[in-house]
Symmetry: C2
DNA sequence: GAGTGTGAATTTCTTCACAGCT
DNA sequence: AGCTGTGAAGAAATTCACACTC
């Protein structure tokens, strides 16, 4: 049972995994924390320390076996299984998400899409049938839902999330530009372009042409 | 000249600003760090400390004047002006971004969109003409570009970024699921759904039904 | 010889606690 | 009386540095 892993560590693991997969594609067998760190702009010590929370994966003098470490990280991150996801909100962004080919290779299966607009309900988009949001309770009763992806307008996001939580969903990837208010034990990750942009403008603010760091 | 502001602080400011705007909409005149912190699940001390990096905005015994603090944060974050942005990649995601109504109220003006697919070049989407990526040099010569939003496939992202950097763009919001390799002085913020999902599955991994925190 | 794993040192970030202003 | 702003304390994260293993 994972006990006391700092959040920042968990946040870095997927990036390590991605770099390792790339190395594997390039038929690299072993990689040192130094080499990996160079690729990712992370110090070698950080990589070693991060991994040490989970076990001992390296070989002294050699580094890490790429394939083995991929397998281990897959298991640590829970990527050695399928995750059932649903999408709520089938507007322009929702459609882009449905059609996004990146989820399925990682084990994320989009099992259903929901919208409240009767215009779009009943349509099949990129192979997924769009259901009415009022069908959510029935669907969650009969189907496993591990993660809900929210692509609804800001004003609807909280209500939709509340509804999903009531129906047993406790993990969200939200594209809505508002902070969702959720009870303890519900996990939310937010992808908010506005927050990201506003953070950038701070650094851009008084730097016409480079060199503000 | 802003000197030594921790990154984490800058990352929180936009969330404060957002909450303050909401309070302003509700005609709240003054807010204490305690009240604001409660809304955002942040400790009052953190808010006070964060703001103290930039000046003294509060009134003892009263808290912060909401309107005034909004104005100050707007200025601190550089949101008291227009920012010229361009979009590269007009696929499904790119179209969603072009149509997203959230950017313009924050002062982000999408001045052009680019794609390499001749099918879409020349089309006007949500009022923005799509140009060919080969027009980027000419465009950047004649127009200010503060931030480029990348919505291109992973395999194209690095090349597109390199090209833009050569043409003087040094700030990116990237939706591509790869870590962009950029020279010093170029700022990249990445919105990567896969990384976010993989972080979540770690916490979900061995918790069927809540309580893993 | 090369590179891990890890306590210890260091740096960074957060919280405390209170003097001082309104 | 109430709440800010901030040094100082405390906690967390990162980096160092080296004993140890392959």
């Amino acid at each position: 049972m994972a006990v006391d892993i700092p959040d920042v560590v968990v946040r870095r693991l997927p990036t390590y995994l991605r770099a390792l997969r790339q190395l594997a594609d390039d038929n690299v067998d072993f990689v040192s924390s130094h080499q990996l760190g160079e690729r990712l702009h992370v110090t070698p010590a950080q990589i070693r320390k991060d991994l040490s929370y989970f076990g001992r994966f390296g070989k002294q003098g050699r580094g890490y076996n790429v394939q083995l470490l991929i397998t281990d990280l897959d298991q640590i991150l829970g990527l050695d299984r399928e995750w059932e996801t649903i999408l709520v909100g089938v507007g322009r962004l929702g459609r882009a998400i449905i059609g996004y080919p990146g989820f399925s290779p990682e084990g994320f299966n989009l099992s259903a899409a929901f919208d409240s607009d009767s215009e779009v309900v009943g349509q099949e988009i990129s192979g997924t049938l769009v259901r009415h949001t009022s069908d959510i309770p029935l669907f969650t009763q009969n189907n496993r839902v591990d993660i809900a992806i929210l692509a609804v307008p800001a004003r609807a996001a909280q209500l939709v999330a509340d509804d999903l939580i009531r129906n047993g969903v406790h993990s969200f990837l939200s594209y809505a530009p508002i902070p969702l208010e959720v009870p303890r034990g519900v996990y939310v990750r937010s992808l908010d372009p506005i927050l990201a942009m506003e953070e950038m403008t701070f650094y851009l603010r008084d730097s016409e042409r480079g060199g503000w760091k």
